[in-house]
Symmetry: C2
Subunit: 142 residues, 2 copies
Amino acid sequence: MPLAIEQARAAGARGEVPVGAVITLEGQVIATASNRTRELNDPTAHAEILAIRAACSHLGVERITGADLYVTLEPCPMCAAAIAHARVARLYYGASDPKSGGVEQGARVFDHAQCHHKPEVYEGINARECAQLLRGFFKNRR
Amino acid sequence: MPLAIEQARAAGARGEVPVGAVITLEGQVIATASNRTRELNDPTAHAEILAIRAACSHLGVERITGADLYVTLEPCPMCAAAIAHARVARLYYGASDPKSGGVEQGARVFDHAQCHHKPEVYEGINARECAQLLRGFFKNRR
């Protein structure tokens, strides 16, 4: 998670909402990414999506079965469903996101029969630091 | 929708699940795409995601406010949330997807306070033809 937080800080420094993600497989980091929706003019370029695409591209596979994904903020429904499609084994996230989250609230993407893979979910990892990064970012923008 | 069906057929011919998408803005086609998850080793490469990324890239914007998206199959939660993030104005889809859909069943992505934009949704457009394409594809694979 510290590496994901570092990624989030880098996004914030670029004027992007500070969210970072890291994917590991068998203890090795195989992808790191941070939010780049503005830079790339791509509303799908959330940290999790970019990390999944990078990890799959790196390994030449469509599914990263057995992988762990760390992200500083609760995934939105888009990212949660991408995590399921990619067959990520374990999801660790920092801050909860009552406003836009799709794991523990709202769409609760993993909790329906239409979701064909549910990762183990561990929330609240370094949550305070992850949330403070976001609060600081939005406070500075106002 | 006929253009989206043509895209879906092209995906099927490449061995991909036959789903196609088209985005129009003010009556002009600005993006066409079809499912390429296998070809690209990218579990996020659904037709809708590729079409949204192409349309945003083409226009140099992060949101395609006012755009219409046509897709042959009910979007999954990943694609539905991407449609909301991109601020697509109207979603037209063909076949319903009881197995993996996220619009009219399961996660029902647009129906939560955590979804910040709900497009107008029109379902069942050329539904029989869209569904037959998928049925034929999976029948041939077995």
